[in-house]
């Protein structure tokens, strides 16, 4: 099933409970994976990951060749080279570091190199800001990387381990970003369940590439010139791999559930079965939204939450089928795409709903008009999202249901669909 919730109800006995920050949890997952190569450059708020991991290297707790580089462009380049040479390689970054990796992100994906990279989400400059928003990862959404998003340190830990299997699956062979919110997740302590080292090593297995640069018996060329005669075919292959990743992500999640007791899917559907209105979110905002949904439910309001975990590939069909029968949906974007047509998450959710509506009664969803959709942009540069903000979103949705329209006489609105949550007028 695609609509699985994360539960820690049944914790398998091969785990212990520890208090870790998100960055510590990610560094621990990396230690347990024990990659052959890590090449990284520190940047706030990712720094701890690299710092903790370098101490694991110094203490001999991993077999990793740790490459200190002079920039993120080099970090990703060294990682690309290592994976092409047959190593399991990882790096991690944030914000402007991710931006500096830009061209190499496409080279990693286009060369089909299964790199796993935690991205600790932070606002892009300018103006300079070190706090959380999703502008970094959203900017890389079309680079051909799988994107898994995390609500908290537990999910960041679990996603990093699963990402290895997704990336290296023979039908996928694509790089994977594991996104976690800067500071909110990366620096906050959480009691989480972690697996034993041996369990993680067994789960990720050994990386056995079919072709490597270091095999003199079977020499290969990686990244050659590829003009109008074959480039298009290679992009078509890449699209197919991203499509194949859908089933692989679910299969790996199922295997991981058997190991950990925690369930993952494309998204978590919280109290959506009989809901009239819902919010769609990525990342740590889901915790706040879930709290508000439960609170409003106690007051008798039929509200729900869809927390997206997999943004690339985008599970449009499954998401639309889950939301189709609702009256209103608010999509919360922690990034301003400046398209004036809505944030990046909004445009995709809305498009998916439209596609399902076009499909009419043929799909499992009920035919008819799709839900009214609204876009709320929030939390840029680390601006807090509090329960009152989410409640105000549900109030706006209720007004939209009453009036049959998402339009309001607000001032300061860029487009008819976009509202800014928590900005000062």
């Amino acid at each position: 099933m695609t609509t699985t919730a994360v539960t820690t109800g049944t914790v398998n006995p091969n785990q212990r409970r520890v208090a870790l920050t998100g960055n510590e949890a990610v560094a621990l997952a990396m230690r347990q994976i024990n990659p052959d190569v890590v090449a990284a450059y520190p940047i706030t708020p990712q720094t701890d990951i690299v710092q903790y991991f370098s101490s694991f290297v110094a203490d001999g707790r991993v077999d990793t060749e740790f490459v200190t580089v002079e920039s993120e462009h080099s970090a990703m380049s060294a990682t690309v080279g290592a994976v092409a040479a047959g190593a399991r390689a990882m790096t991690a970054t944030s914000a402007n570091g991710l931006a500096l990796m830009w061209e190499v992100l496409y080279i990693a994906a286009g060369s089909r190199l299964p790199i796993v990279m935690p991205v600790v989400n932070r606002a892009l400059s300018a103006p300079l800001n070190i706090h959380c928003d999703h502008s970094d990862a959203m900017g890389a959404r079309d680079s051909g990387w799988v994107q898994l998003w995390s609500e908290n340190a537990q999910e960041a830990y679990d996603n990093v381990i699963q990402a290895v299997r997704v990336a290296e699956h023979p039908k996928v062979l694509l790089p994977v970003m594991v996104c976690l919110d800067g500071f909110i997740i990366s620096h906050a302590l959480l009691n989480l369940h972690v697996l034993e080292d041996a369990a993680v090593r067994a789960f990720v297995g050994r990386y056995r590439p079919d072709h490597t640069l270091l095999d003199p018996e079977r020499p290969v060329t990686v990244g050659p010139l590829d003009l109008y005669d074959f480039y298009f075919e290679h992009k078509r292959q890449q699209a197919e791999a991203m499509s194949e990743a859908r089933a692989v992500i679910l299969q790996v999640a199922e295997d991981y559930t058997r190991l950990s007791g925690r369930r993952y899917g494309f998204f978590e559907a919280h109290r959506l079965e009989d809901a009239d209105s819902a919010v769609v979110v990525l990342g740590s905002a889901a915790g706040t939204a879930r709290f508000v949904v439960d609170e409003l439910r106690r007051r008798g309001r039929k509200v729900g939450l869809l927390k997206l975990r997999v943004f690339r590939p985008f599970p449009g069909r499954e998401l639309a089928e889950t939301l189709a029968r609702l009256q209103t949906v608010a999509v919360l974007d922690r990034a301003e795409g400046f398209s004036t047509a809505g944030g990046p998450l909004f445009t995709e959710v809305r498009s998916a709903l439209y596609a399902l509506a076009e499909d009419g009664g043929r799909g499992p969803a009920s035919p008819g008009a799709p839900p009214l959709t609204m876009n709320f942009i929030y939390g840029l540069g680390g601006r807090d999202l509090d329960p009152g903000d989410i409640e105000s979103v549900f109030d706006r949705l209720a007004t939209a249901v009453e009036t049959g329209s998402t339009r309001t006489p607000d001032t300061g609105r860029v487009g008819p669909l976009i509202e800014y949550l928590g900005v000062r007028e």
Binding site: G110, S111, R112, L113, L173, H211, R218, P219, V220, T221, V222, G223, P224, D226, D229, F230, Y231, E233, H234, R236, Q237, Q238, E240, A241
Partner: protein
């Protein structure tokens, strides 16, 4: 594995991987040419500078002597004509009329 010309996306190695060594000869670059080096055997002093400098392998040498230009690969860069000693002037660049590999 040799990739067939015109092969579909399901048939080719992923991500542009080339799985055979020494495959550059399979890639004919002569069609790139807009200027064509013309070799005059009567003026050639057999210094082999053109062969040394050719960035491809388009100067044909037989029995240790320059024997012509391989137009299947020559991209028309003109390095050979530039390096050919002035007193010999055995390689001249002319405008490519029809293009092609011959």
């Amino acid at each position: 594995m040799t990739v067939r010309e015109g092969a579909g996306w399901r048939e080719i190695p992923r991500g542009g991987l080339i799985l055979t060594a020494g495959n550059a000869t399979a890639y004919k670059t002569g069609a790139w040419r807009t200027f064509r080096p013309v070799w005059h055997p009567d003026r050639c002093i057999q210094c082999l500078l053109c062969w040394i400098y050719c960035p491809d392998a388009a100067i044909v040498v037989k029995d240790g002597k320059v024997a012509g230009v391989d137009y299947r690969y020559c991209k028309g860069c003109g390095v050979c004509a530039t390096e050919c000693p002035d007193k010999a002037h055995a390689l001249e660049m002319t405008r490519e009329e029809a293009g092609g590999e011959t």
